[in-house]
Amino acid sequence: MLRSLLFYKRIHNNRLATMTIRLGTADLAKYPFLNEAAEYMHQTYFNLDDLNLPELGHIVERASNRIRSEIEHGKPDFTLERHEIEILTFLVGILIIKAINSDNLTKKHCLCEALRAEKFLVHDLKTHGEPSTRKLLLFKVFKELLKMDVLPSMKYQLMFEVKVTDYLKRSHLFHEQEWKLINRLVHDGRVFLDPDETVRLIRAEVTNLLLERIKQMNPSHIPATIRGQANILKASIPMASRKLANAPSAYPPCVNHALDLMAVGENLPHSARVMLATYMLAIGKNIEEIVSLFKNAPDYDERVSRYQVEHLAGERGSRVRYLVPSCTKLRNDGLCFATSQCDGLINPVQFGRAVKYYRETNLR
């Protein structure tokens, strides 16, 4: 069907024959944020106004549906079409997101795109038959995009080697003990990881890279079809995710850190989630608002999250309302990121009061 598209014709008639795509086009479909995908678009003489053409209506609709699904279910779309469709869907998606101009939705979309790529990348690293293809993929995604050296291990089949420094720069974002360097196979400045771990290591970075790209994007104008879709989607965003509960600066650093990780889709450990939920309950947030905070979690299930938050609020199970863990407990769990404003506190819930007191006493 696409062969009839004006756009597609232009590709074939003009430049496609002369392009040197070192990665297969199937790979560009999976990783449309790669530099080569941008190069591909550049060489097709694609014009933003082409998106107003009825022939490309289904691409706009596809991108719009993908974003709607992200808003409603918080989960990425893993369907895979041909590269022409996927690259355009990706581009239209970020144009719609730019037009909606919502921080929360932008973060969510970037995370979903990262999760989508993560799934394909794990599969490719596990199954790509030719070592040279696998090396090329590693080079394109890790080296070219993220400036990180990842090599297939010569010692162990299906394992990858990452420099200790590259590993440390990324692993500290994870709270789980298994990500600590001591619990990894380390030798001669290299950390050995399986494909899942290798790809998991870069999730936050890919998310941030996409966020940065959207932030930097400055289109001359937004085509009418994109603006129309953006308006429809904007109306469907739940109120809860439009507003942020409080000014972030009012939160203690431990809570801010957990919120930051949650925003980029990190898998927070149970103890951090308990801290986050009990803190929000303590400062008077309602169940809805708290449940919506967890929407970015990779394992988010609204029913489970709601039950757990209600349990902590004393509305389920033992009917005991849980208190915010003490600073000592958080320190022991590796969840404390104290600043000088935390001096003298024994519980994060005192933070706001301490800041207020500090400001007042300094004014006297």
């Binding site: 162990y156 394992m159 440390l168 001669d188 400045g189």
Partner: protein, 383 residues
């Protein structure tokens, strides 16, 4: 904490330090990109001046001769604007540094060369011999330690262990690892590999925990909890050939083929919790006793190599050959002119600059390097 020094004590120390910086300022090692470092000068009045900048080593030495600080520090970090407050400096990375201190080693010889000095009447005794001052009855004491050869050997063996970790596990080549005697009771190990410079505090904390053997899981060698609060053994992908996996498995006497032996071992210990505790204990014992706070601080100022340490009058000195390095010989660089001091402990023996000294509670004339060493420890006073 060392008892307060008298005005004469400080005068003698300051004169000795000025003489040293005047004659031997060229022994101070210039840090890489000196113009991007923050400097800190500690005065003999105990006041620290931070956020200083020197564009060359010559200017720094001139300032040391003029001001004569008790201690000289330079930041491990490089900044765009070293003189501005910390939040506005513009951090451009920090050297990776490890500190091994005698107090963390808990050596048995410690009590045999520690002294208690009384804050009230300034009298001095062997540590542990009294619980209050026999002269004035005060219980306000400070413990002062004069490290012995066994202490230095204990420190050296810990430093060697750190070198092995850095080389075999972390992959830092030996020529990029520089070791300094701190000038008092420890060693500083500097890593000259710039790829570590942009690691933040949390990443450095993870590296420090690796080297110290903290936070290890039994999963590392394949013992995992299963759904019934029991355990199962399944060796990890990559085997037990390297790093902590090898250290723990060697200590437990297991290999990739001894699944049954490992299962038996866990059962013998009781349950998986007991096994985890055993693994954690082994790791802690085999880890290096570094001061993790020093490694994780990316805004710290460190004693500069080649400068004097006011806790001893010895210099922070580069160790070219750790095995043969003798801090009591090579780090003692003050002059030998004689000064009169009053020795406080009933008796003490020490070796400095190739000479052995046996001193007792009296006024004696000694070389200034001995005088400053004892005054800085609170074991003598200038007369």
């Amino acid at each position: 904490m060392i008892p307060t020094k008298t005005g004469k004590d400080l005068q003698m120390m300051k004169a000795a330090f000025r003489e040293f910086y005047f004659n031997h300022g060229n022994r101070i090692e210039e840090p890489v990109r000196i113009q991007n470092r923050e400097f800190g000068l500690m005065g003999f009045d105990g006041v620290m001046k931070r956020h200083l900048k020197f564009s060359s080593l010559g200017r720094l030495v001139a300032s040391l001769v003029l001001e004569t600080p008790s201690d000289v520090f330079a930041s491990n970090a490089q900044y765009d604007f070293p003189v501005l407050p910390i939040s506005e400096k513009g951090w451009r990375g920090a050297d990776l540094i490890f500190d091994i201190d005698l107090k963390d080693l808990d050596l048995k010889c410690r009590l045999s060369h520690s002294y208690m000095t009384c804050f009230s009447c300034r009298s001095c005794y062997f540590s542990g011999s009294e619980d209050r001052c026999p002269k004035c009855g005060s219980n306000n004491f400070a413990e002062v330690m004069l490290p012995c050869d066994r202490c230095i050997n204990g420190l050296k063996s810990e430093v060697s262990k750190l070198h092995r970790f850095l080389a075999s596990d972390i992959g830092i080549s030996p020529e990029k690892i520089t070791t300094y005697f701190s000038g008092n009771n420890g060693f500083h190990v500097h890593v000259l590999d710039e790829s570590f410079n942009d690691l933040n505090s949390q990443a450095r904390a993870d590296l420090a925990a690796y080297i110290m053997g903290i936070g290890i899981l039994a999963d590392v060698i394949g013992v995992r909890r299963d759904t019934h609060n029991d355990f199962r053994v399944r060796f990890p992908l990559g085997g037990l050939d390297y790093g902590w996996r090898k250290r723990i498995s060697d200590k437990l006497g297991i290999s990739i083929t001894s699944e049954r032996k490992l299962t038996k071992l866990v059962k013998e210990l009781g349950d998986i919790e007991q096994f985890r505790k055993r693994v954690a204990d082994i790791a802690k014992e085999m880890g290096v006793r570094i001061d993790s706070q020093v490694t994780t601080d990316v805004h710290r100022v460190f004693r500069m190599p080649g400068t004097l340490n006011s806790k001893s009058g010895l210099t922070k000195t580069l160790c070219l050959d750790l095995d043969s390095f003798d801090p009591f010989e090579e780090s003692c660089q003050l002059s030998s002119r004689e000064v009169a001091v009053e020795i406080m402990p009933p008796r003490l023996k020490l070796r400095l600059k190739g000479e052995r000294f046996s001193l007792s509670e009296e006024i004696v004339r000694v070389p200034i390097f001995i005088g400053v060493y004892l005054i800085s420890k609170g074991l003598a006073h200038a007369v």
